[in-house]
Symmetry: D5
Subunit: 153 residues, 10 copies
């Protein structure tokens, strides 16, 4: 599948080990002490693995640390390259559409609450949760970033 | 400013009244019993105003219901038009970048938690919260949508 | 042909088996109890195969379930990637043109019939039918999706 | 709202009369003996009005035939201009997404059923229907076009 | 050369045989009873070969019918993919420029001559002719398509 | 309608006079001794009017030569600006599609017939003809341009 | 000139006052205690004016504070809109080209010096200096931003 | 990772040697007597290596001069190809955003300081520095280019 | 005509005066002691007028210096904005095509003749000449720019 | 390097022979009796080699005519494909920028000198010259094309 060409070389190895051991991102995330989205980002080459991540991944996936260290996992990720924008994948498009429809509404509310600045996407964390009620299943995504006011210069 | 050309005709009137009465979106949201982002979306023409919204907006903004009803506020919004993608505004770009960087990580985690489907951006709500800790101010955005599995046909 | 590079790895295997056994999508669809368009979407990697689909495909195509399960057919499809938009293929362009020409007319009629919302493309089914009359052959495509009203928040 | 700049000059007049008389497209469509989508297309300048359409629109909207004839309604429509592609409006995007996801599946099924050719988008009709069942409301769109085989030359 | 990547697999085989036998499209077109442009379109994978075309091509090119049938030549062509638009090739750009410069002039004249509709590009034939006069060589391209009036619905 | 913004200022005046006098391009073309497409191109500002064209247009349209000379009609046309590419108008798109589908086939045939060069779109003429047979109406477009071989340097 | 349409309404007033009083950005920057680039950004609507900025601008430009406060100067800037990318202006293009040519070299050096993160463009300042040596005039631009390491989550 | 496809063939060899010898760009830059950014640009194929650069790189990396000379390192670089614009990488995007937000402010200040012209990106040098204060780490980038006034002709 | 919207405000005034006085660019260029292309660039707002240019233009065009100085003619031009790229105008497209077809050939020859660098487009002049021989009229464009070698840093 | 994928197969062979024999384009051009730019265009597959070119290239490069004839060198070039527009390479961008900045100025001057038409890029030659004066090195590019007036039809 085409996305593979846009991923770093370690991605197929990681996904194959995960599939073979029948592991969920939830299990791997617990083993690494990280959020599931962060772990999936590691698999897609969108985050840097620390030495502890390598040690833990080695244990949970059954791949030697040496082999993991030979990949680009501990290098500096070249982020964003696996995506074409606008996204064609319906699930990802819905997230894009939220930005497209509510972008200026978020800005208006955030400027009012915080002043002139931005929410950092770097000093930042995110998680996905599943909620169930009588109407069915709900997906809840939380984005939490440091507020950065514009410097005066 | 250029965004005005992409907004429906009622937007300047609403923003002017809000400025004159020195109202925050928080105050207006309380008067309408709605979230701040939803209210800002009403101001930008990205959501439809219900008759109660009109009644409440009339009171809080001091514009007659008749005048509000003459605008396109109660019509069917033509959503998304006020945005160019990718967004040039740094605040909005950061949200876009989150989708660009973590889009496939979200998909991987959501497919694993829910199966094959999407998080609805229509049966959906969102809010912005401000948190303060010893490291400073944090912006927290919550996205919550109904999970829709693909129909089998 | 170039589209092959945009398809998942199982696609050539499936098309080859279909050709060798000289099967139509109609026949395969009957074997799977699904619509022809859904089956073609499986072949192009645009839909997820259930375990029963795998069992039935195995029988009708003469490929072992094990071999089918080794492919990405039961994984989470990365939808939309096989298409460039606007489509260059004349047959597909005509569908695109219908959206381009009648998009706002559909919206106006649907808003009036249903209120503010969208027709889901996920809780959704579609089929193609052939009709013949004295003027010749007609192609009839039916799109049927759940109506989703915008949440109030 | 921005779409107005992309519409022919008669559109605001027609929508205003429709709103003032509180008419639905259903009512107007019955008065014209045409489909609702076709009537909405007339309002958006995406279809040509025949002399009978003018006569009927005059009656139902209360605008003189003379005034209607002075507009571009009876001229040759410059179709497609009111849309940006990909569409930003969520309702219209869902239709675009169906083409994006199922385009090649439709082609595969249609080639098999009809041979090498296309479904005409000109010798063509379409309608929108509302269906209700225990799961809620469903929107059904039918596209019906003449099959055109490629000429041999 | 890059265009090869956008062509179906049979194209290089066909061009190689044509070159080896030192055949012109004119000769091959006579052998197939078709227009030269149609034959070139077969070579570029932009048209479907009929069984007679296969038989005739086999004879004239010295490739067995079996080998030709193994290719995608008798499958459903995925048209348009070999081109980037706007075309960079100067010869092809000139044709594009004619559409760009005279597109609305053609439309105005055609609407006046035929009414509201289009010239079909499917029920369609085309040819290229060479004319010589005292001013030099002239290239004459003829496009001839069925007129399709818009359906009333 | 939006195309008006992309046309030179004289266009609405010319179209209005043509409509008021109920003249066809055929009639005007005869009065000018030119092809209908060339006359329509004059109306859309895609061709330069000669002094005789001005004289003849003045007579046939009933506009004084002085008034015509005050416009940009006798200036140097800024060609191509009235079109967006790819064209959204279905009639014009069909012409674009012909270039997209047959572009390389034309090139192959033309190179074979003429050598390395292009068909000029400047030393060029074109016309539209209507043909009727038992299958209905056909539109025939002829493009005729000087062959220009690449200079050797 | 076209850029005016992309600027907020106060920009022409500010530039006119600056021209009339024959003030340089250097003088105004000294009056505001800010960098020249920051002041120019205020003029182009790319930065927010503080109450002191308004007071100082009022004095130096001779426009009353009340008039300045009526503009969008103290509102939340909608940044980035005045630019098309890639920039067509040769001076601005050179800056764009530096990012294009050295972007990954900067990244490699910065990752090595600081680890995984980014240089903030918000907690950020910049200045332009003129240097003269025997080879002529040199322009020196300094960009200084807070280093933000990626959060671990 | 995808960027590799856009780099010249020597890049992987250089990065591998650097990694194996555990060398920083700082160390290599000292060995070459050049800036770190210039050295990283050499590694990415964005700068031409002089004979002394080859000699020094050979020593510091432990690759023979002959082997280095066989690569394209001493050829004419095809600059800019390794980047897509706008950049998706967050670190590089921040630099792009600075140009997008402050481009016209830089121009206004530079025109005032120097007159009509540009800062050269060719007769140009740049460096990255790390600064630490009580607020943390800061990244300082300096761009220094010859001022080129427009020729009068 | 649309280009007017992309030109500075003085352009129509200049062209009108030129037309009224029936002056050629050749005449105006002689009056200013500049090249015709430079003068046309002044008319299109692509170059800055010096005080002597203003004095000379005032005389030759019969517009007072005061009126000329009130325009943006003596300001800093915002170059490049009047063009869409790729150009649609056939005359301008031919120049673009020359860059497209011969760009890398120019680069190869220039690198060989001069080393690693660029031909400046700022320290630059250009002219257009007309030549006539037995084959007809020829247009000769000369581009002459300072060679700028890349700095070593 | 990426451009190789966009070049015809003979290009690497030609460049390798040129490098091995240490030949300049100047030398090869003399051997072929052609301009250096034309020869570089042959190397990049942007021009067709005549039989004499093949004979001369064979001699000067030491490659047999047979081997050269097996390549696409004597076929019909697929021009323009090796370039992305706008060009990212700074040297080529400067040429593009000249068209962008002076395009309409060239058109105005050329229309005045020649009337309504274009300068041919086919009946065309070009050369690069090096000039040295006290200010340094200058690059002079000459473009010379046949003037083609628009046909009247």
């Amino acid at each position: 599948n085409d996305i593979v060409h846009r991923l770093p070389a370690q991605s197929p190895m990681l996904f194959a080990a995960k599939k073979e051991k029948n592991l969920s991102f939830e299990t791997i995330a617990q083993a690494l002490g990280r959020e599931e989205v962060a772990v999936a980002a590691l698999f897609y080459g969108q985050a840097k693995a620390s030495p502890e991540d390598i040690a833990n991944l080695s244990k949970v996936l059954g791949i030697s640390e040496e082999e993991l260290n030979k990949t680009e996992m501990t290098g500096w990720p070249d982020r964003g390259r696996q995506m074409e924008m606008p996204p064609k994948e319906p699930l990802v498009y819905r997230l894009f559409e939220i930005v497209q429809n509510y972008g200026y509404a978020y800005k208006a509310v955030m400027n009012e609450k915080f002043g002139d600045g931005i929410m950092s996407a770097i000093t930042f964390s995110t998680k996905v949760e599943r909620e169930v009620d009588e109407k069915g299943e709900w997906c809840k995504i939380t984005l939490r970033g440091k507020w950065l006011p514009y410097s005066r210069f």
